[in-house]
């Protein structure tokens, strides 16, 4: 890259500001944390071979992990607000290490449920929840580009980790892979946490985008307190956002679980059908990055509405999809709104609630998302068992997203904050 271009980018985005170090650290932690969920698809067969457990028994471990992540999300958020994201993630790293090593050495299905389902499920919620509000707190302006850059890790992380895991499984076996990823992942996160600060105030610096004309009282650290949090709970938009997360996740969980079987059901080969998920992932990278930037600049409500509407309407294409072209076209049209749907939420939180610590609020929103993912994930299988097809599941997905879009319209305007904190 020519030095003049780097200089121009540096002038525009202040690349030496510590906020970017925080974004990089958050992205790495998100990538390592994503291993917990992504490892599952590759470990079913080896575990089944080792212990003779059925796919259903192992699948229950995934369901327990998903449920624990969802149920523990509000708790992770509260802990993050009380003791700070850094200390919370240090606890999460201990849990991650214990969970990975325990899963590797588990010899009974109950041990597996506790190690993978409960311990790693909780570790995942700790990696997902407090880090996002911490990153947002580092930005006074330009929150969109900071959040967008971090959210891209959600797409790239799985793509990289799943390949690395598959290769390690092949060479070292699944138990050693768990040990390797557990130990190295924990070391990487521990090193990252050494350089991590919960907020600019804790590093005695100013947030990214701070201007001399800004209100100086904001420079003093904004501490979490239950009185201000109750003010947030008393806004309709807080509940709408939990609800919107739920419906959005039901909408895409159905598709993410069922789109490959749907394509295979139409006579498309498994390899070609797998490409649908890859295209969704690639298309979503673009919108994960751009949606927070647009939301930050022009208001988050329209971008969330368009994303939900797009997600709901694009799913209807599957009703008549029969060729690989139909499925790939669907993947692009679905992947774009799917990527933009949830990534704007940290931005809208900031537009509504300012720089008040957002862990508890975001934790409740991810609780809605987690429950939605769990319910949406089981619908296609049951529907297929009953009806022998996926039409009903497609309608459930489409209507969930469209209902979510309707609730988005009920959100307050993002032009100004909707709470007034007493000082």
């Amino acid at each position: 890259m020519p030095t003049s271009l780097i200089k121009k980018i540096d002038e525009k985005y202040h690349l030496r500001h510590f906020a970017w170090v925080i974004v990089i650290i958050a992205s790495i932690i998100q990538m390592v944390g994503s291993t917990i969920r992504n490892v599952f698809g590759v470990m079913v067969d080896p575990m089944s071979e080792t212990f003779g457990w059925s796919q259903g028994q192992i699948g229950l471990g995934y369901a327990i992990a998903a449920l624990c992540t969802a149920l523990f999300s509000p708790v992770s958020g509260i802990i993050g607000d009380l003791i700070g994201a850094r200390k919370t993630m240090a606890i999460g790293t201990v849990l991650f290490l214990v969970g990975m090593v325990w899963t590797a050495t588990a010899s009974s299905i109950i041990e597996f449920y506790i190690a993978y389902g409960v311990v790693l499920g909780i570790a995942q919620s700790i990696y997902l929840v407090p880090i996002v509000p911490a990153v947002v707190s580092w930005f006074k302006r330009g929150t969109g580009i900071g959040t967008g850059a971090m959210m891209v890790a959600w797409s790239i992380g799985p793509a990289l980790s799943i390949q690395a895991l598959a290769i390690c499984f092949e060479y070292f076996g699944w138990q050693n892979t768990f040990l390797i990823f557990g130990i190295f992942g924990s070391i990487i996160i521990a090193v990252c946490l050494l350089f991590f600060y919960d907020s600019p105030e804790k590093k005695s610096t100013l947030p990214y985008g701070w201007m001399s004309t800004d209100n100086k009282s904001e420079i003093k650290g904004i501490l979490w307190n239950s009185k201000s949090q109750k003010l947030i709970f008393k806004t309709d938009s807080f509940w709408h956002l939990v609800n919107i997360h739920f419906w959005g996740c039901v909408g895409h969980a159905v598709i993410l679980v069922a789109v490959i079987p749907m394509a295979v059901n139409q006579g498309i080969s498994l390899v070609a059908a797998s490409g649908v998920l890859s295209i969704i992932a690639i298309a979503s990278i673009f919108s994960r990055f751009t949606a927070p930037i647009i939301g930050d600049k022009y208001g988050s409500k329209p971008i969330i509405f368009i994303s939900f509407l797009g997600q709901g309407l694009s799913v209807l294409l599957l009703l008549n999809a029969s060729t690989i072209f139909d499925f790939y076209l669907f993947a692009i049209l679905f992947g774009l709104p799917y990527g933009g749907e949830g990534t704007v939420v940290p931005i809208i939180n900031k537009q509504y609630y300012g720089r008040f610590p957002m862990g508890t609020t975001y934790g409740w929103q991810l609780f809605g998302a987690g429950i939605g993912m769990a319910i949406g994930g089981v619908i296609p299988g049951i529907v297929f068992d009953i009806t022998g097809g996926y039409v009903f599941a497609i309608w459930v997905s489409a209507l969930s997203s469209l209902w979510g879009a309707l609730i988005v319209l009920m959100l307050s305007s993002t032009k100004e904050m909707i709470v007034e904190y007493s000082t």
Binding site: K234, T235, S237, H240, V242, I379, I382, M410, V419
Partner: protein
């Protein structure tokens, strides 16, 4: 700003009720198909959760 966020909580309650209704309907449908499948194979085993779903669902 009101003391109780009626609209927000109201929509959450609607979500819970719709989800429960959907769960009961799909659960009852699934139970019915499982029972029919067993009966066609000459098996009349009674499973408590299948019976419960069908009992609770007004459409089955």
């Amino acid at each position: 700003m009101g003391e109780i966020p009626y609209k927000g909580l109201g929509m959450v309650i609607i979500t819970v009720l719709v989800s429960l209704a959907l769960l009961i309907y799909i659960g009852a449908d699934y139970s019915e198909s499982r029972i029919k499948n067993r009966v066609s194979h000459g098996n009349s085993t009674d499973v408590w959760w299948e019976r419960s779903f069908i009992l609770v669902c007004p459409l089955h």
